[in-house]
Symmetry: C2
Subunit: 426 residues, 2 copies
């Protein structure tokens, strides 16, 4: 299974156009390729198969395997107190900062499934460890992360999962196809697979794949993301780079304010390039890959008809700006107005006013797609005539209090969102 259109971008990305992600030699350098993902770095194999977990027969089991020579890893997980069994398992495993493989299934979240559900996750890791060992790579269950996505509350069909785990080891490929098959196998309500790779001119690479369409929220989302690199780095470097990147990308993608029980972002390094990179270089490259994947998630969010960015400037601190931007991004009345292409700036001001951040209501300025609609807290002539009929809307609110700034990616609130989430038991 392979993707259709190939997209290769050098120097700067032109899609998504709303926040062009500039890759310059100074920042991270390299060539971004969207037809490659987790197998772009050296030392990684991947696969995606139809194991029969999904009732619709689509691909539903993915594997990412690190051939080494190194096996460093870092992870970030949902902040929801209700954590799925695979999240609790993978958090334990990650304490050793080392992963040989990640096994991911769609077709069931294995969340709120009690002790039995945790045993299912454990059994999955044990089965994969045995299959990898039989295949010639001695592996322990404690070196395997597990990720699940789908409906909360049901046990997984373990006969199919365990049979699939044995089968998938024999399907692993090191080429583009293996990574792409894996990206397909983790899709739920996603309409397209999401992957990207960055080829650094220094001779090392970062790749990644993502799934996520609903429940995209504050501390990640049912967002399963696996990132890989062949740079020779320490686990501490990976952890710093991963937290730096997720805070500024996935954590600032807020489609509906809901926070999943299963969110997981993993970063694995094989060291196979044998090239040592600095923290700054790694940070920039991991950020670039995460930022691109976050834009892909926004583009494919459930029910989206408008891709929206909410930028708050002029806050006293960046943290203040983030709180205010998130309040606007989550406001149902703002989001329905944008669905209706209505430049209803009054709703933006109302959403700004409800956070704990102290503002000066009479100082605020707001623009839609560059057209000023509100200055000094009141409307400007022509504010109601701004054309928002396009599919991208950039709202900028300037609080006029300082230099703090932040941007949240979100979407409108559409009929399709209501339809998808009322008709699909997810």
């Amino acid at each position: 299974m392979t993707t259709g259109a190939e997209e290769t971008v050098t120097g700067s990305m032109t899609n998504p156009p709303m926040t062009p992600v500039e890759f310059t030699d100074e920042v991270s350098g390299g060539r971004m390729v969207r037809r490659q993902g987790v197998t772009a770095p050296l030392g990684f194999r991947a696969a995606g198969i139809k194991a029969g977990i999904k009732v619709n027969g689509n691909a539903d089991l993915a594997l990412v395997f690190n051939e080494g020579p190194e096996y460093d890893a870092a992870g970030v997980f949902t902040a929801n107190q209700v954590k799925a069994a695979p999240v609790r398992w993978s958090q334990q495993v990650l304490k050793a900062q080392r992963l040989r493989a990640v096994i991911l299934n769609s077709g069931g979240a294995n969340a709120c499934t009690g002790p039995g559900g945790f045993q299912d996750t454990h059994a999955t890791a044990e089965a994969l460890a045995a299959a990898l060992s039989n295949w010639g790579t001695e592996t322990g269950a404690g070196e395997i992360a597990v990720c699940s996505t789908g409906l909360i509350g049901d046990r997984l069909p373990m006969d199919k999962v365990l049979a699939g785990v044995t089968e998938i080891v024999h399907e692993m490929g090191g080429g583009i196809e293996g990574g792409t098959d894996a990206a397909y196998a983790i899709m739920t309500t996603d309409t397209i697979p999401k992957q990207v790779a960055l080829h650094h001119p220094g001779g090392w690479n970062v790749g990644g794949m993502a799934k996520g369409a609903g429940m995209l929220a504050p501390s990640l989302a049912t967002m399963l993301i696996v990132l890989t690199t062949d740079a020779k780095v320490t686990p501490e470097q990976l952890d710093v780079a991963l937290r730096h990147a997720t805070e500024r990308t996935f954590d600032r993608l807020d489609i509906d304010g809901a926070m999943s029980t299963n969110d997981t972002v993993l970063l694995l390094s094989s060291g196979a390039s044998a090239i040592e990179v600095s923290q700054d270089e790694l940070d920039a490259a991991v950020f670039a890959v995460c930022d691109d994947l976050a834009a892909q998630l926004q583009n494919d969010a459930e029910g989206v008809t408008k891709r929206v960015e909410i930028t708050v400037t002029g806050a006293k601190t960046d943290a203040d700006a983030l709180v205010v931007a998130r309040s606007v991004a989550r406001d149902s009345l703002v989001k329905t107005a944008l669905f209706g292409s209505d430049p209803n700036w009054g709703r933006v001001l109302a959403a700004i006013g409800v956070t704990p951040v102290i503002i000066d209501p009479d100082a605020i300025a707001v623009s839609f797609n560059g057209s000023m609609v509100c200055e000094n807290g009141t409307g400007v002539p022509g504010a109601r005539d701004v054309d928002l009929s396009g599919d991208r809307i950039h709202v900028v609110a300037d609080l006029k209090l300082g230099d703090g700034a932040a941007t949240i990616r979100t979407t409108d609130l559409s009929h399709a969102y209501v339809e998808e989430n009322s008709a699909y038991s997810s």
Copy 2:
């Protein structure tokens, strides 16, 4: 203008049935009547007219006038930092704990209108004071509260407002019609006027009217509410009774998490019954009227197809229960599932897990309309078969940590909500 159906309830209310509000002699006593409102207590006149503020020609200006002999008053207002001009005016006026009249307009919120908008509010109060003085009741602008509702950001057509203010004084009636006309004149997207009166067997009365359909949220909503009583009480008693009641009624009505710039709840006493009542009696009666009006607001919320109550029990404190209940009530995925009659309890657990309140995920029990769907944090047999096709849904989540409990009234998230809020510039 009068309402259609008359509804008189004695002893207990049967509509809305989801939270039957029991009126017993022990609690507040009295007879509840929904065809009466602010003019049910002695000493109050009211009117509602078509002043031409609304472009559709509907009634848009209301007056509630206190004939005395006393003029005590209390008020609560939006917590939004972006406050409409009439809110800032009325907050100032209320510092004297005294009101002769309240003038309310629909057709424009007079919010985010700058210093000019505040001057408009001031001019409205001055014009009403002059009209009332000419009519024979010496009144100052500082004894008049002003309320506005409608689109944020536009100046009011002051020629029409000022002409209407002079006219409306001559329309004041002390009977049912005056109060009902006022209740009609404050409607925006409301489909029916909301009013209720409680006739206490002790010979005193409490009446009220409300408007509000969207933006119903944590600290009130574009909720304009005027309550009246002829009990002989102090302003301190009024303030205590009002805060006690609003915290437990309007503050626990959360339709879409949005908080208005114009929320105002006023309580005026005329003392015209000459009957002194205890704080407990007043608290119970004001609560009963507010609770009934809150239920009417929920029933008429924008786009509602299901009236939903979220009850959290077993929290360590009532405050914890309220935080958790509000999180569930605001969750878009819970609300769309309920729109689809989907007993998706996993989304309820996910919404419970995201608050700062520490929970035990493995202890939670959840029921839908009395049918247990989740125990010990996992699903029970038949959980996915619970019939939620009716128009009322009661979700109860028991955290099993203590005795704290709270209930939030909300609605589903429907196509009609999206339609109304994307097509109507409000």
